[in-house]
C-alpha cells in the first residue's frame, strides 16, 4: 500500500522556479508518467518524493503520513537516476547488492546472491556482473541502475528516464518487464519519460508539467482526448497534434484562436482543398504531409495509399479541439 500525495509543493533554486504549487495525489498501485520538456520540473518532483530535496512550501504525504521530515532511507523508496550514478569503485554485482546490504536491511548473503542473479537475469546483464561499473556501455549502466532499484521489493519506485539510453529492442523488452514487475508488486510508480509509447502503454496516470506547474493530471486517454491546453495536447501523440488557425475550417466557435487536429482526426474526401507535400510509407501506416493554405499538417492514411507528392485532396476536421489565444482549451 502506498499512496503518494504532494500538497502545494513549491521549490525554487535562486530565481529559477522548479516547482510551482504542485498538488497531485498518486493512488496506490498507480503508474504515473510525468511529461514535460527539459527543465519542466520532472526530476525535481521525483526528488521531493524521495526526500533528496525538500520543498520550500508544501508537504509530501505517503499513505496519509507527512514524511516531509523523513530522510530518504526512512521513506523507503527506490530511485533510478537520470545520470545512472553507479558507484564507480564497485563492480556491477556489488552495485546491485548495495541496497540489500544497507544497515536497514542486512540481507543474508545467500538471499543477496539469489536476488542479484534474478535481477541481472531480468535486465539481461548477467554476463557483466563482474565488470567494474565504469567498464560498461551507457545502456548497460542504465540497466544496472534500474537493477539497483529493483533488487528491493518496495512500494514506491521513482524512475527518471530509465530506458532512454537503450536501443529500441531492449527498450520495448524492458518496458514490458517494468510494467509487469510494477503490477505484480502492486507498487506505486513515478516515471519520467519522453517516449510516447512508454507514456501511453505503461501509464495509468499522466502528469503534465509546464515550467514547474502541474497543468493536467489524469489517465493518458483522457489527456489525449481532452487536453486542457495546446501545451498538454502536444505532449502526447506521435505524430504530434496539428495546430492550425481556427478559421481555416468553417464553423469555429466564438473566441477560438486555433484548432487542434490529431493526425487520425482528419477526414479525407471532402472539405478544404490541400496539396500533398510528402508521403512517408512506414509499413503499418502511411503519413501524409499536407499543405493547407500554406499551413503544414500531418495525417495518416492506409499503408497502400496510391497518393503521391503534388496530388490534391480535400480534408475536413473530425472531433476537433479548439483553443483560445492563450492556448487554453475552449471546447
Amino acid at each position: 500500500m502506498a499512496e503518494v500525495s504532494l500538497q502545494n509543493i513549491s521549490r525554487r533554486y535562486g530565481d529559477q522556479v522548479a516547482l510551482d504549487d504542485v498538488t497531485m495525489t498518486v493512488p496506490d498501485g498507480a503508474f504515473v508518467v510525468l511529461l514535460g520538456p527539459t527543465g519542466a520540473g520532472k526530476t525535481t518532483t521525483l526528488r521531493m518524493v524521495s526526500g533528496l530535496d525538500k520543498p520550500d512550501v508544501g508537504k509530501v504525504l505517503i499513505n496519509g503520513e507527512d514524511v516531509s521530515r523523513h530522510t530518504p532511507a526512512q521513506r523507503n523508496v527506490a530511485m533510478v537516476f537520470q545520470q545512472y550514478s553507479l558507484y564507480p569503485h564497485l563492480s556491477v554485482r556489488q552495485n546491485l547488492a548495495f541496497p540489500l546490504k544497507s544497515p536497514m536491511l542486512r540481507t543474508p548473503e545467500d538471499e543477496i546472491t539469489r536476488k542479484v542473479a534474478e535481477v541481472a537475469e531480468t535486465l539481461q546483464i548477467s554476463h557483466k556482473l563482474d565488470n567494474k561499473a565504469t567498464e560498461l556501455s551507457g545502456g548497460e549502466m542504465q540497466r544496472v541502475s534500474i537493477g539497483r532499484a529493483l533488487v528491493r521489493d518496495l512500494q514506491i519506485y521513482l524512475m527518471d528516464e530509465p530506458l532512454s539510453s537503450l536501443d529500441a529492442k531492449l527498450r520495448s523488452d524492458l518496458r514490458i518487464v517494468l510494467k509487469r514487475i510494477q503490477t505484480s508488486l502492486g507498487a506505486t510508480m513515478l516515471y519520467v519519460t519522453h517516449d510516447q509509447i512508454e507514456a501511453m502503454t505503461m501509464a495509468t496516470h499522466v502528469g503534465v508539467l509546464d515550467h514547474g506547474k502541474l497543468v493536467q493530471f489524469g489517465p493518458p486517454r483522457e489527456i489525449y482526448q481532452n487536453p486542457v491546453s495546446i501545451y498538454a495536447a502536444s505532449r502526447l501523440g506521435s505524430p504530434k497534434i496539428n495546430i492550425l488557425p481556427a478559421d481555416v475550417f468553417p464553423a469555429a466557435p466564438g473566441g477560438a484562436h486555433s484548432i487542434g487536429l490529431r493526425p487520425e482526426h482528419i477526414g479525407i474526401g471532402e472539405g478544404a482543398e490541400t496539396r500533398v507535400v510528402r508521403v512517408e510509407h512506414l509499413g503499418d501506416q502511411t503519413r501524409l504531409h499536407l499543405s493547407l493554405n500554406g499551413h503544414d499538417l500531418i495525417t495518416l492514411t492506409d499503408p497502400h495509399s496510391p497518393l503521391a507528392k503534388g496530388d490534391t485532396l480535400r480534408i475536413s476536421p473530425q472531433s476537433p479541439l479548439y483553443f483560445d489565444a492563450n492556448g487554453d482549451r475552449i471546447t
Binding site: L52, S85, Y87, H89, F98, S102, P103
Partner: protein
C-alpha cells in the same frame, strides 16, 4: 617534418628524454648514495680526502650507532674476556668495548610513534573537515579555509616561542603526545586543502544514491566517499608523514630526552674521540627506511594522486 608530435614520441625523443631523466636521477641520488656508503666506511675512510669511492666495508658505523662503548684502557686489557658476538668483535677491533645499548633505538621508535600518530590524526581530522567544507554550508567557509591555510604562510619556527611556553604550561614539553598534537596541527592545513580538492571531485550524486539505497549520511560518507577518496588520502598521508618524519626545528626546541625524535638525535652521535660520521650516516640511512616503505606501499595511489584527480572524467 618537425620532430614535434602529440602522438608517439620518436626514437630520438625517447633517447633524449631517457638521458635527461637518468642524469637528473643521478644528481639527486648522489647525496643519498654518499650517505649510504659513508655508513659502511671506517671513521678514517669517512673523512679521508679525496673521498674514497672504493673502500674496505665495515660495520663499525652501525655497531657504534646502536651501542655505547668505552675505550679499552691498559688496566682493562688483562681482565677482558674474549669477544662473544660479532658486534663485540667489531668494537674490540677499534679499541673499544660495548657497555650497553645506545639511545638510537628509542629515538627511532619515538619518530615512528610521533610520525605515524600525527599523520593518522591529520588524515582523520583532515578528511572529516574537508568533507564538511566540501559538502555543507559552513558559515564563513572561505574565511575559515583561508585561515586554515594561513597557518602555513609563515615558517613554523616563527611561532616556536609561544608554542614552547604553551607546552610548558600544559606539561606537554618533551612528551610524545605534545609532538603528535603539534605535527597534527601543522599538517592539518595541508591535509584539509588537499583532501577538499579530492572530495570536491567526487560528485554528490553517489551519496544521494546511497541515501536512497537505505544508508545514512555518515554511512554514505564511509561506504561511498572514503573508498573513492583513497587516492587522495594516500598521497596526503605521504606528504604529512614526510613532514612529521623530517621535522627538525620544533623537535630540537621541544624535545630533549623522553620524546626526542631521530632528526635532532642523529647529529649528536659522538664517537669516542670526536664526531662519529659513519654512525651518523648509518643512523640517517636507517631513518630513511620507514618513509621509503610507506611511500612504496602507497606509490600506486601517489602517482594518480599527484595529478589531482585529472584522470577522473
Amino acid at each position: 617534418m618537425s620532430g614535434f608530435s602529440v602522438t608517439e614520441p620518436s626514437r630520438r625523443q625517447k633517447w633524449i628524454a631517457g638521458v635527461l631523466v637518468i642524469t637528473y636521477a643521478l644528481v639527486t641520488i648522489m647525496p643519498l648514495l654518499w650517505i649510504i656508503a659513508t655508513g659502511f666506511k671506517s671513521p678514517e675512510d669517512a673523512i679521508s680526502y679525496p673521498p674514497k669511492v672504493v673502500f674496505q666495508p665495515s660495520l663499525e658505523g652501525y655497531v657504534n650507532l646502536f651501542s655505547s662503548r668505552t675505550r679499552i684502557t691498559e688496566s682493562m686489557q688483562e681482565t677482558l674476556q674474549p669477544a662473544e658476538t660479532w658486534y663485540d668483535q667489531v668494537a674490540r677491533d677499534s679499541g673499544t668495548v660495548i657497555v650497553g645499548a645506545s639511545r638510537y633505538g628509542q629515538r627511532f621508535l619515538n619518530s615512528v610513534v610521533i610520525g605515524f600518530g600525527s599523520t593518522f590524526l591529520a588524515i582523520v581530522f583532515g578528511t572529516t573537515a574537508a568533507y564538511a567544507f566540501s559538502r555543507f554550508k559552513v558559515p564563513l567557509k572561505d574565511d575559515l579555509l583561508f585561515f586554515i591555510l594561513s597557518t602555513r604562510m609563515m615558517p613554523p619556527i616563527a611561532v616556536a616561542i609561544p608554542i614552547f611556553l604553551m607546552f610548558r604550561q600544559l606539561g606537554l614539553n618533551d612528551t610524545k603526545l605534545g609532538m603528535i598534537l603539534l605535527y597534527t596541527a601543522v599538517n592539518l592545513s595541508l591535509s584539509v586543502w588537499l583532501l577538499k580538492g579530492f572530495i570536491d571531485e567526487i560528485p554528490f550524486e553517489y551519496e544521494e544514491a546511497a541515501l536512497i539505497d537505505g544508508y545514512t549520511r555518515f554511512q554514505a560518507f564511509y561506504k561511498v566517499v572514503l573508498p573513492q577518496a583513497a587516492t587522495g588520502i594516500a598521497s596526503t598521508a605521504i606528504f604529512c608523514l614526510i613532514f612529521a618524519w623530517n621535522e627538525y626545528a620544533f623537535a630540537v626546541l621541544l624535545t630533549s630526552g623522553n620524546a626526542q625524535t631521530a632528526p635532532p638525535f642523529i647529529p649528536t652521535i659522538i664517537g669516542v674521540g670526536g664526531q662519529d660520521w659513519p654512525a651518523v650516516a648509518a643512523g640517517a640511512t636507517i631513518f630513511l627506511i620507514p618513509v621509503m616503505i610507506f611511500t612504496i606501499l602507497l606509490r600506486k595511489h601517489l602517482l594518480r594522486g599527484i595529478t589531482f584527480g585529472a584522470v577522473r572524467k
